[in-house]
C-alpha cells in the first residue's frame, strides 16, 4: 500500500539557517501520525512545506505517489491536503457557517450569472452546501454557534471551526498544527475523540504537530521526532516513549516523558 504522504530527504534553508535537513518519513493511509520535537525543531516549517507556503530547497514530497513540491498552496489544497494553523487563520468577520462554506468553495459549481439571476443551479448548490456546513459544524460541536462571527468564538471553538473548515475541503490528508495547545483537560479529551472519529469514520490520514504529550501518546499510531531540523526518531509511540535519545533531546535529560 502506498503511503498517503511520503516525505523524502526534505530540507529547507532560510539564508544561512538550516530549518530542516534530510527529513524522511511516511504517513500511512488512515493513520494518525504525530510529529513532535522541542521548540524550533522545524515542525511548523514541515507543515508549511507540505502545504506549499514554503518551497523546499532539497528533497521531495509525494501525496499518494504524486509529487507536491513546487505547487501553489491552493493547488495542494485541491489535491486533498487540508490544514489548521497554530494561531488560526479563520475569516474572523464571517460567521462560523460562512467559514465552513468558504471551505466548500471548490465543491460549488456555478457562475456569477447563475448567482445574480438566482438560477436553480445556484439555489441547489447553496442549499446543499448549507446542509453540509450544518453537518460539519455539528460534527465539531459548533451547531449552536453557526451564526456567530468566527472572531468572537473562544479559542477552543476557533480551533474546532478551523477543523470543520478544513474538513469541508474534502481532504485525504489533514495537517494539524498544535491543535491541543492551551486546551483544558476536558477539551483535550474531546480532541482525542474527534481525531479518532475522523480517522475511523472518514479514513483520513492525519499529521499532527503538538507539544501536549498526553494527547500525542494517546492518539498517535506513529510518531516522528524532529530535533534541530533533523530526524531524531520515527517509530511507534511505545518505542518513542522509551527512546533515550528522544528523552534526552525533549526533556533535557529528565527521566519522565509523559
Amino acid at each position: 500500500m502506498t503511503a498517503t504522504l511520503h516525505v523524502e530527504r526534505l530540507g529547507i534553508r532560510f539564508g544561512g539557517l538550516v530549518a530542516l535537513e534530510d527529513v524522511s518519513f511516511s504517513v500511512a493511509p488512515g493513520s494518525i501520525h504525530a510529529v513532535i520535537g522541542p521548540n524550533g525543531a522545524g515542525k511548523t516549517t514541515l507543515i508549511n512545506l507540505i502545504t506549499g507556503l514554503y518551497r523546499p530547497t532539497s528533497g521531495r514530497m509525494l501525496l499518494d505517489g504524486a509529487p507536491l513540491s513546487g505547487l501553489a498552496s491552493h493547488r495542494i489544497a485541491a489535491r486533498g491536503v487540508a490544514r489548521s494553523f497554530q494561531n488560526t487563520e479563520l475569516f474572523t468577520e464571517l460567521t462560523a457557517r460562512e467559514n465552513v462554506l468558504a471551505g466548500l468553495h471548490r465543491h460549488l459549481h456555478y457562475g456569477l450569472a447563475e448567482t445574480v439571476l438566482r438560477l436553480p443551479r445556484w439555489r441547489h448548490a447553496e442549499r446543499e452546501a448549507a446542509a453540509q456546513a450544518e453537518a460539519l459544524l455539528a460534527r465539531v460541536g459548533l451547531a449552536d454557534q453557526a451564526e456567530v462571527a468566527a472572531g468572537d468564538l473562544a479559542l477552543g471553538q476557533q480551533r474546532r471551526l478551523e477543523l470543520a473548515r478544513a474538513l469541508a475541503t474534502g481532504p485525504r490528508l489533514l495537517l494539524l498544527d498544535e491543535p491541543a495547545a492551551g486546551l483544558r483537560a476536558a477539551e483535550a479529551e474531546d480532541l482525542v475523540r474527534v481525531l479518532r472519529d475522523l480517522r475511523d469514520t472518514l479514513g483520513l490520514a492525519i499529521l499532527l504537530v503538538d507539544h501536549v504529550m498526553r494527547v500525542v501518546m494517546q492518539v498517535s499510531d506513529r510518531i516522528t521526532v524532529l530535533h534541530h531540523g533533523r530526524l531524531l526518531a520515527d517509530d511507534l509511540p511505545e518505542a518513542i516513549r522509551r527512546n533515550p535519545q528522544v528523552i534526552a533531546a525533549y526533556l533535557g535529560g529528565a527521566p519522565h516523558a509523559a
Binding site: 507556503l53 479563520l90 468558504a102 471551505g103 456555478y110 448567482t115
Partner: protein, 305 residues
C-alpha cells in the same frame, strides 16, 4: 420590514420621473450613475479589501471608450458600453495580477499612479481623446430615436443602478463573494481551503473596473461632454469617500453614499465658497461617529426595529 421598505423605494424610483421636475430627475439619475461606479469599489475595496485609487481611471475607459466607439464607428451605445466595460474589466484583471508583486499600501499607490497615467493619456493623446479641450459625447440612439432627455436617460440608468446593488447583494450569498471576503481576512487561510488568491484579487479588480466603466459610460451620456479633469486621482478619492461613507460592506452602501454626495452639495449651495470645508467636516464627523458607514447605521436601526 426592510423588504417592504425596499419595494416602496423601488416604486418611488419608478414613479419619480412622472412627478418630479426634470432637474430632480437628472440629479437622481446622477445618483444612479455614481452608485454603479461606487458599487465597483464596494467589491474591490469593501469585499476583497484591496485599496484601489484607480476607479476614476476605469470610469474614463468606459466614458471615452463608449463615446469614441460611437464617434468613430457609429457603434450604438448598447453595444459600445458593454464593449468598453469589458475592455476595462480586462485591464482591471491585468492590474489585479500586479498584486503578486505589490501589496497593500504599495498596491494603492500603484493604482493611484495608474489613474494619473490614464489621465495624462487623456490629455496628451489628442487625436484619440480630444485632449485637454474635451470631447463631445454623441447622444445614444435606440432603434432610430435619440435618448437625450433626462427622463429617457433616467429610464436607462436606474435599472443599471438597481442591478449593481443587486449584484452586491448576490455576492454575499455566493462562493465568489465569500472568496473575496476570505482573502481580505486571511490570504493564507483562503489558499489553504483551495481558493486561488491571486486570481480572485484580479477578479475583484476586473469586476470593479467593469462597473466603474459602465458607470463612466452612463456618466458620459449624462454630461454629454467629457473633460480629462473629471477623471483624476481626486475623483478616485472622492469615489472612495462615497463608498466609505455609504458603508463598504452594505449592498445599499454605494446608493446611500451616492445620494449624500450628489444631494448635499446641491442643498449646501448657500455656504458658497466654504462648501468644501463644511462638506469635509461633515465627512469627518461621519467617519468618526459611524465607521461602518451610513449603511451600517441603517442596518443597526433596522435590526432594532
Amino acid at each position: 420590514m426592510p423588504r417592504a421598505l425596499l419595494l416602496l423605494a423601488l416604486a418611488g424610483l419608478v414613479l419619480l420621473p412622472f412627478q418630479a421636475p426634470s432637474h430632480i430627475t437628472y440629479l437622481v439619475a446622477l445618483i444612479g450613475t455614481t452608485t454603479v461606479i461606487v458599487a465597483g469599489l464596494a467589491i474591490v475595496v469593501g469585499l476583497a479589501g484591496q485599496i484601489s485609487i484607480a476607479q476614476a481611471g476605469f470610469a474614463a475607459i468606459g466614458a471615452y471608450g463608449s463615446a469614441q466607439l460611437a464617434n468613430w464607428y457609429g457603434l450604438p451605445y448598447w453595444l459600445g458600453l458593454p464593449a468598453a466595460a469589458l475592455v476595462a474589466a480586462l485591464v482591471g484583471y491585468l492590474f489585479g495580477l500586479l498584486s503578486l508583486r505589490v501589496a497593500d499600501h504599495y498596491l494603492a499607490l500603484t493604482s493611484m499612479a495608474f489613474c494619473a497615467i490614464l489621465q495624462l493619456l487623456l490629455v496628451h493623446l489628442e487625436d484619440w481623446t480630444g485632449g485637454a479641450v474635451g470631447l463631445a459625447v454623441p447622444p445614444a440612439t435606440l432603434g432610430g430615436f435619440t435618448l437625450d432627455k433626462p427622463v429617457q436617460l433616467y429610464a436607462f440608468i436606474m435599472p443599471c443602478a438597481v442591478f449593481a446593488t443587486w449584484l452586491l447583494n448576490s455576492l454575499r450569498h455566493a462562493k465568489l463573494g465569500r472568496a473575496f471576503a476570505a482573502l481580505r481576512m486571511s490570504e493564507v487561510g483562503a489558499a489553504a481551503v483551495g481558493i486561488p488568491v491571486l486570481h480572485h484579487k484580479a477578479l475583484a479588480f476586473a469586476l470593479s473596473a467593469f462597473l466603474g466603466a459602465w458607470g463612466g459610460g452612463l456618466f458620459a451620456l449624462q454630461t454629454t461632454y467629457l473633460d480629462p479633469a473629471q477623471f483624476g486621482i481626486l475623483e478616485s478619492v472622492r469615489l472612495i469617500a462615497i463608498a466609505v461613507i455609504g458603508g463598504l460592506l452594505n449592498p445599499l452602501g454605494p446608493a446611500i453614499g451616492a445620494t449624500i454626495f450628489v444631494l448635499l452639495p446641491e442643498m449646501m449651495g448657500g455656504f458658497g465658497r466654504y462648501m468644501t470645508l463644511v462638506f469635509s467636516l461633515a465627512l469627518l464627523a461621519c467617519l468618526v461617529l459611524a465607521p461602518a458607514g451610513l449603511g451600517g447605521v441603517v442596518h443597526r436601526l433596522w435590526k432594532r426595529a
